[in-house]
Subunit: 382 residues, 2 copies
């Protein structure tokens, strides 16, 4: 662990890619540096809103705790949670660590074995952040596991040929529903955790995590540490969870100024007469669906993940399942979908539409929130 970090802090040869705009095509861009066995370089970027990633010796630096989320329990197995938690943490980190100044690196501080210890229950000689087992098994009587998973991201700064740790962002994945068995291989029970309890517990854990990370090798007294609290979606959810609070520890054990995060996710169309978060968005989506489903005889269904931030829609990921026989049908359908999307779907929102058949993705249509035009791509074959 310490070794990996030391390596991460060793002097580096030239890093030449500028983190702005389109890819630059100068010779040497993004290439691994020669002559040094510790050669660092970066991935390059195609968008000023994205971080470059650290490459060491031509290889991407994966996280020390890589894949940990997958092994913890059922909720970790909900891949929507994992993707949304990682991307969401990066979005929060961007407020603190500018993409033009910082380079992204998968978390190197918290190793898999350390994370496992932290995610465990507290006992006399353990580092567990979850409460002690009180011996009870009733849904409302037992002490639930509040903390389910963690994600660490490192933000590196470059100075000349140096690369050093400029900041750390850690997400604590909190259970809204803690699934457990009373006996091995037995039935699964659920302890529901209120938002208030989740927040109290998460904030207390954040304090402890900052204190521990602050002592780690490579972390200075004034290295900013961002801790963000994430509410995991249930294991049967078709959309991931959301962040609800974050704090920046500027130095020492300071963990005070919490900033609330107002995010909501939903799946459209809503089922079981569930009230949609926003009636206008839901109606727009229904109109789009009706228009597209009328268009083609063999459409199997249209669903969407909607994401709200501060009560405003910020993104829609739409999936259209269909069965096409021909390439030309698909071309026409894709053009039609782009047209219908621009007509029926809300403007100023990031939209991604994937058109799938049983053979996988066939085409996709997307628009950035700042753009008026839809990009379309039909996957080709020779």
């Amino acid at each position: 662990m310490k070794k990996a970090l030391t390596a991460a802090l060793i002097l580096v040869a030239a890093i030449s890619l500028a983190a702005c705009g389109k890819l630059s095509f100068d010779s040497g861009s993004g290439s691994s540096t020669s002559g040094s066995s510790k050669g660092y370089t970066t991935t390059g970027t195609v968008d000023s809103g994205m971080y470059e990633g650290v490459i060491q010796n031509g290889r991407y630096k994966t996280s020390s705790a890589r894949g940990l989320q997958l092994s913890t329990n059922q909720q970790g197995g909900n891949s929507f949670n994992i993707k949304s938690m990682e991307n969401g943490l990066q979005d929060i980190a961007k407020k603190q660590f500018s993409t033009s100044k910082y380079v992204f690196e998968e978390g190197q501080l918290i190793s898999t074995s350390t994370a496992k210890k932290w995610l465990a229950r507290k006992s006399d000689d353990s580092q567990g952040l979850n409460p002690k087992d009180n011996g009870k098994t009733g849904e409302t009587e037992r002490n639930p596991m509040y903390l389910e998973t963690m994600v660490e991201q490192d933000y590196m700064t470059q100075s000349g040929s140096d690369m050093s740790l400029g900041g750390v962002a850690i997400a604590l994945g909190m259970n809204a529903d803690d699934y457990y068995q009373k006996e091995k291989y037995g039935a699964t029970y659920t302890t529901h955790i209120s938002d208030a309890d989740m927040t109290t517990q998460g904030k207390a854990m954040a304090k402890e995590v900052v204190a521990r990370v602050r002592k780690m090798s490579g972390v200075n007294n004034d290295t900013p540490i961002v801790i963000a609290l994430y509410k995991l979606a249930g294991s049967d959810s078709l959309v991931g969870g959301t962040y609800f609070d974050y704090v920046v520890s500027k130095s020492g054990t300071d963990v005070a100024d919490w900033t609330p995060v107002n995010q909501q996710n939903e799946v459209l169309p809503t089922v079981d007469n569930k009230k949609p978060i926003n009636k206008t968005v839901s109606t727009d989506f229904d109109n789009f669906t009706t228009n597209v489903e009328n268009f083609f005889p063999t459409l199997a269904g249209v669903t969407a993940q909607a994401h709200y931030s501060d009560n405003a829609l910020t993104g829609l990921n739409i999936t259209i399942n269909t069965q096409f026989y021909g390439a030309t049908e698909l071309n026409s359908f894709t053009q039609y979908v782009a047209n219908a999307a621009s007509k029926y779907l809300p403007s100023g929102v990031k939209i991604e539409i994937t058109i799938q058949s049983t053979q996988g993705i066939q085409a996709f249509v997307s628009r950035e929130s700042s753009s008026k035009d839809f990009y379309t791509h039909v996957f080709g074959s020779y």
Copy 2:
């Protein structure tokens, strides 16, 4: 059949989408016309190099012989052939029917039952285009099935509120290897057909097809009919076949001025010491692969379909199979791939790179032949 065609020729209400540039967002664009049960409209287009498609009563007009290719035999089941045959026919048609003047419609002239008759063997009272069964079963003695499948595409012209047939394009899918059984459910044998025989047979069949189509309702004496000859790839091929000849019948039964088409497809990397079509392209691809495979620990393989036209590389479809655990890893990898592609892959060529895991497509990177910049997209989730 006749009814469908008649319908296709009936007067239409306003068609307002211009077939140029970005989608236009005027109200009414691409919408179905009201008040007429025969309402025609078009799909709209996002690219001046693409055709708009015909929509009737809000529904896409599918082909009369839709899905026919799938049912004929094993080669039809090679989905690479189907996609490449349809797209390739449209490319050839573009030389004759400008995308700014013509609207695309799936073939409406040749119905499924007609196509089945034409694809059969000749007999005294049949319309079969393939030769009579000579009763022999030896690979080199029997009369093979030369014609395996057909694709029809219609090109419509708009005049005021009318839409009428402006041209027809038909592809004849020819067997290079005719697979057959000597007895029902028996072993599969193969009759190899030489390029010379394929050409002679295809050209003779084209003459017959033009004569028959010319007599169909809705086709005038001077409606241009394009016939293109396609050599199907074998059933185990990982890339589709290629066109080798086409002709435009300007009027009557004229089928004379054949234009050779020089296309080649290959899969990279080549296997079994097969010599690549172009050594430079193959080396570029190998360098790209090595660079990308070194980058990430868990890369399962990189393959490509390469397409050559007149001995020059015109397109590369690359597939990268991998297993990622995290969204941020995928973001970095995608940026790195775009960078490596711009560095190692040939310029001035259409490139499409899909990054897949066992869960399906994760990201893609593409560049049009005329562009210097790569477009990247990582599929999101909330």
